[in-house]
Structures are given as C-alpha cells and as structure tokens.
C-alpha cells in the first residue's frame, strides 16, 4: 500500500466525505480539495478528533484546467493517493436542448478530471509510485435515454482510466475505477431507489480503501451491480432501444 497523503478531489460531496473518513480511519493524512474549500473547515476538525489524522484544505476548481499544474505544484509534495469524486449529473432534459448545459456535464465529468489525472499520471510515473482512483459510474456502461449525456461523459472517463491503468501498469502506478451504482446521496435524494442496489456513502468509502490495499482494478461497491450491468450490457440493441431503464 502506498503511503503519503491522500488527496480527495470533490471533498464536499457525500461520497467524498465518506472516502475521507475511510482513509482517516486507516491513519492516512488528508488533503481535501474543492471549490470554496473553507466550507470544509469543520471536516478538518472532525477528522482530527475522530482519527487523529492531519487534514488540510486546498482550493480547487476542476473546470479551471489551465491552473491544474499550478494547483498540484501548490500542494508541495505529490500525494501518495489521489481520489477523484468529481461528478455532476446535470439535468438530462436540459442537456438535450441546451448545448451549454450538456457541455458543462461533459466537461465536469470527463474532460476536466481526465486532464487533471493525465497531469497526475505523468508526475506519478516520474516518481514511480502512486495510486489514482477515479469514481466513475455504471451509467457509463451503456447509454440510456434517462441520462446519456452524463453517462457518455462517464463512459469517456471510464475508458480514460482503463487506458491509464494499461499504460502505467508497469510503472509502479496503480489506477482504480470505482463504479458505485446507486448511492444515498444528495444527488439521488428523493429518487425511489431499490434498497438492495443502493449503498450508503460509508460503503463506498470502505470499498475504495479496500480496493487500494487489495490492488483491485475495477470496483463495483455492491457486488450485485456486476450482474446487473452484465445483464444490461448483453441485452441486444434491438431490444435495449425499446426499454425504459
């Protein structure tokens, strides 16, 4: 397991917080990065009291790709592990008619985080160690009418992670793709989700930490999702195009 700090990108989200707790519990120091990071001051105190770990804040806007390198330089030492929890569902109906809205979803879920991971990958490859963890989505496995703009961006992100993993496999850098499935978060509040398929953020956090220590490549938080997505992938397009999933 690689040591050093864990940088969490998108630490204000419910899943980001849960991942911070899971790493805090394992004793790793933390860097919580987000827009308006000052909001996370209370979390720094919380992590210190609970786990006795040092946590600090870093102001970060993933869409400001021009400043990615400067952001990483400003952190000082390159973190041992980086987790990207960046995600933005957007509004599918709006994305269908409003190009700017669709582009924002695509930028936030794919182009911008991929650009940052590319920069991190190069730095970690130079160092010869590190772990990159991308929280992607099962929505990226097959485009569906209900969320294909978001899904297509996540599909791109998933493919990008897969390529990075392949490229870095022999350079000491571990790349992990996490597909949480349904999670009880602010993003899914009010949706009627099937209980057996829906994880709590804490389960995602535990799964991420375990995936790193166990050297896993692709993680579905609840194992049942592997079957669900297999079923969705093998359905012939002729039938799939008529479903309402």
């Amino acid at each position: 397991m690689s040591a050093g700090a864990v940088l969490i990108l998108g630490a204000t989200s419910d899943i980001g917080r849960a991942i911070a707790h899971a790493y805090g519990k394992s004793g790793r120091p933390l860097i919580l990065a987000a827009r308006n990071a000052a909001r996370l001051q209370a979390d720094v105190a919380d992590l210190a009291i609970r786990y006795g770990v040092a946590a600090r804040l870093a102001e970060f806007d993933v869409l400001d790709t021009a400043r990615h390198a400067a952001f990483l330089d400003g952190l000082g030492e390159l973190p041992g592990t980086v987790v990207s929890v960046i995600g933005f569902m957007g509004d599918q109906a709006k994305s269908e008619t409003d190009v700017a809205a669709a582009e924002l979803v695509m930028h936030t879920n794919y182009l911008a985080p991929a650009a940052l991971l590319a920069e991190l990958a190069n730095r970690m490859a130079r160092r010869g160690s590190g772990t990159l963890i991308g929280v992607s989505s099962v929505a990226g496995e097959r485009g569906r009418a209900s969320n294909y703009v978001y899904g297509s961006a996540k599909a791109g992100f998933t493919a990008f992670l897969s390529g990075l993993r392949n490229r870095l496999a022999r350079q000491g850098v571990q790349v992990i793709t996490v597909k949480p499935g349904f999670v009880n978060t602010r993003m899914t509040e009010g949706m009627k989700l099937p209980k057996a398929l829906t994880a709590d953020p804490a389960e995602v956090g535990a799964a991420v930490v375990k995936a790193e220590s166990a050297g896993r490549d692709i993680v579905y938080v609840r194992p049942v999702w592997r079957l669900v997505m297999l079923a969705i992938r093998v359905l012939p397009e002729r039938i799939f195009k008529k479903t309402k999933l």
């Binding site: 209370a42 105190a45 009291i49 609970r50 602010r186 509040e189 009010g190």
Partner: protein, 439 residues
C-alpha cells in the same frame, strides 16, 4: 417519502429535507410553515414525523471539539451514538448515559431526554449536556444551558423537538478503564423479590430487569435482574489486560422479512419467556459493553418480527410509593390478556428534571405489542391504571395515547407550553405526535 418511527406504526408520507450544514437548517426553518427534526428515526411512534417537512439531521454528524482533560465532546446534533462509542471507547471514554440502542443521534437523545440503566445514579442524558445550540422559529440561534436560557434548556431536553432544532451540543463523557462490564445476573421469583433486588442494587451503577409479563398468579413479576459496573483493568483476565479497551467484533444478524402476524402468540412467546427465565445464567461474569447495553442492536431490523402492522412500545413509570400496587395491576392485566411481549423491561428510576422529560422516581415498565385493535384496547386499560397511580407514559415510545394522559401525567406541561409559546408562538415546530396530543 413514506416514513415511520422504529415501531413502523404509524406511517406517513412526509416531505424530507436533508440539510448538510447550519445555513441549510436555517433556510429550511425560513422556508417551511411547519417542520420537525428527525435524527435516526428510533423514537417508536410519530414523534419524528411531519408530512409538511421532516428534517433528516443525520448528515450533520461532525465532531466539533473534544477536551481530553474533561471528556467534554462537542458535536453536531446528527452525530450517531454508535460512532461516538467506536471512537471514544478505545480511548477510555464512555457516554454518561446510554439508551438501549446505539443507533440514535445526539440530538435525538436530548430531544427525548433518554435514560439508561444508570438513571438511579446518573440521571438522564440531559443532565450531562453542558450546553446546546438551538435554532429557533424566528431564524435566530441561541445557546442554552442550565445557566444560560435555562427555561428554554429545560423545555428543550425532553421537548421532542418542539422548541427548535438542536444544531450541536456539548456533553461530558465518563472515563472507563476497560470496555467490559462486570455483570451480575440474579433471579427473582415474583414482583416482591424483583423490587427487593432493585433496592439491594442501589449502589450498582447499572441495573435493569427482564420481566416475564406472561407469568401469572404466584409468578407474577418474576424476572432476571442484571446489574453491572464498568470493569476495572485489574478485574480482567491476564490475556485481556494488554488491550483493556478493545472494541468487540460486531456480530449482527438481520431479520430478513416481516414475520407473519401469527408468529408471535401467547404460546410461542410464553415458551420463550419461560425458557429464558429458567436458563438465565445466574452469577457474575465479564461481558462486552455491546452485549450489556445493546443486546437488540445485534439483530438488525428486529422490529420486523412484529409483522407488517408494526409494533407499539408501551413504557410507563409509576411513582415509587404507588409502584407495587400499580405494577401488580398492570402485570395482572397484561398476563390475563395474553398479549405477547418479548423482553419486557423493568427498572427503578431516580428523580427526573426537565419539563417533558419522562423519568420520575419510581418503577418504569416497557413492553412491546403488535399494533392492532385488540392491543390498543388493552393499552387504553393500561393507561387508566397508570393514571390512577399517578404515573406517566414516555413520549418517545408513544404512538397512540390520548391527550389527557399527557396533561394528567406531566405536571410541568403548562410551564413547557409557556416556554414553547415564547420561543415558537406559531407552533412552527410540530410533529404528528404534537398535533395528536395538542402539545
């Protein structure tokens, strides 16, 4: 979203808001004409339900400060007792008071002013709260304690969320040397012996009895009484002394389905109770704190054994000098009805404080019943016995009592209403329970 308390009766479609920070709580207060805070939903009945707006507070669960010299922990109101235990037991600290489940939030414990097996010595949870931050109906936030806004503090502890929304609180943990409890189990053949054992156990930190409420006649009130102390390090076997504060490995099972309504009846429960009574291991032993305080937490979703219709828990307390007569009447009525109840609990409480707080000096009895018409009729009869003996029923367990039981049972109700009126004249903070009881 369809919500219920732990008893799964009643259920109500509620609009749920889940604030992540203080500003969002204040926003919800401003935007809603009627709302109630909900912690982890472990009150049994309708205390945490408001169809207009129910605020799920458990996302605000951060620890804000801890002072290792005094043991004072300040945390957001959604902090879960289970998390407090898993973080602080290994450091030698234990909650000053704990209810029978650890799946409750700090705010919920204050709002219900929960008590535990140490009430006769330690009082209720509110007695250990140094101060709390309360968001009021007008959007202001005030600090309350025994010395600052004291009336509001007394109304808020046990106030079922009706004075405002608790944002955070500071309370003092107690030091422990080990994570184990030295437990003694004693058998009592009838109510007189049970009550004598409680008197005999006054100096023990913790005591409670499991009572067989289906036993009749000479066996009425027979029980197993458990009493305990936090074990000292030198009481541990040699192999545990190196890690005296070790957390027990959680072993949980889940009730997978709702049991059919006929599964619990006077014969099945009677047989269970008789077996439990006879086979209780009498004597002294060291047990994990989890097993001593939270035996039912090991069975996740145990509320499902009462079937789809749900359950009501009936918990009353009778003043000490009326306890013997009152308990005899209550237990006689329950045993004769044959209404099935597992693991009824009896406990001697000390004096209570707080305006709507449940405890008063005397015996409290808690039993579960399936929520059905026959049992509601029985509970109305139990109400009459409780009222006739000057007792009261616990709001955090209640789903069905008539308003007269509150006005008769809680002499400080008028003081509570006056203070609530000052803080929230429009009764913005309301639950299905507060509306039902005209609080």
């Amino acid at each position: 979203m369809m919500l219920s308390g732990w008893g799964r009766y009643p259920r109500a479609e509620c609009r749920v808001l889940a604030p992540r920070d203080g500003a969002e709580v204040l926003g919800a207060i401003a935007a809603n004409g009627s709302l109630i805070a909900r912690g982890n939903g472990r009150s049994y009945g309708d205390s945490s339900l408001n169809p207009d707006a129910t605020l799920a507070m458990r996302h605000r669960d951060r620890f804000i400060a801890f002072d290792p010299t005094t043991g004072t922990l300040t945390a957001e109101a959604g902090a879960m007792l289970a998390d407090i235990l898993s973080i602080f037991v290994p450091r030698g600290w234990f909650p000053p008071v704990t209810p029978g489940t650890k799946y409750v939030t700090l705010g919920g414990m204050i709002a219900a002013d929960v008590h535990g097996k140490n009430h006769h010595k330690a009082g209720s949870f509110g007695d250990h709260v140094e101060r709390l931050e309360l968001a009021l109906a007008d959007g202001s936030v005030v600090t309350c304690s025994a010395t600052e806004n004291a009336e509001l503090f007394a109304a808020t502890r046990g106030g079922m969320g009706l004075t405002g929304i608790i944002l955070s609180a500071a309370f003092r943990l107690q030091p422990i040397e080990t994570s184990l409890i030295r437990q003694e189990t004693l058998r009592a053949r009838d109510l007189n012996e049970t009550m004598a054992l409680f008197e005999d156990s006054k100096d023990w930190s913790y005591s409670a009895a499991w009572i067989d409420c289906l036993a009749m006649n000479g066996g009425l009130g027979r029980s197993l009484l458990y009493r305990g102390e936090h074990a000292r390090r030198d009481e541990l076997p040699r192999n545990r002394r190196r890690k005296p504060l070790h957390l027990p490995v959680p072993r949980t099972r889940r009730v997978p389905v709702d049991l059919p309504s006929y599964a619990l009846n006077r014969w099945s429960v009677g047989a269970f109770n008789a077996l439990y009574y006879r086979h209780g291991a009498i004597g002294s032993e060291l047990v994990e704190f989890d097993n001593f305080f939270y035996p039912l937490d090991a069975i996740l979703e145990w509320n499902r054994i009462y079937g789809r219709s749900g359950l009501v828990q009936y918990q009353c307390v009778l003043p000490k000098d009326a306890s013997r007569a009152g308990l005899t009447a209550l237990l006689g009525k329950i045993a004769a009805s044959g209404a099935a109840s597992f693991l009824s609990v009896l406990k001697l409480l000390g004096p209570g404080r707080g305006m709507l707080s449940f405890p008063l000096e005397g015996y409290t009895l808690a039993l579960d019943f399936r929520a059905d018409a026959a049992n509601f009729a029985l509970l109305a009869e139990l109400d009459a016995i409780v009222a006739a003996h000057g007792g009261r029923v616990y709001l955090a367990k209640d789903a069905r009592m008539p308003a007269a039981m509150v006005s008769g049972g809680y002499p400080a109700l008028a003081r509570f209403k006056a203070e609530r009126h000052r803080a929230d004249p429009a009764k913005k903070f309301a639950s299905l329970q507060s509306r039902r009881l005209g609080l």
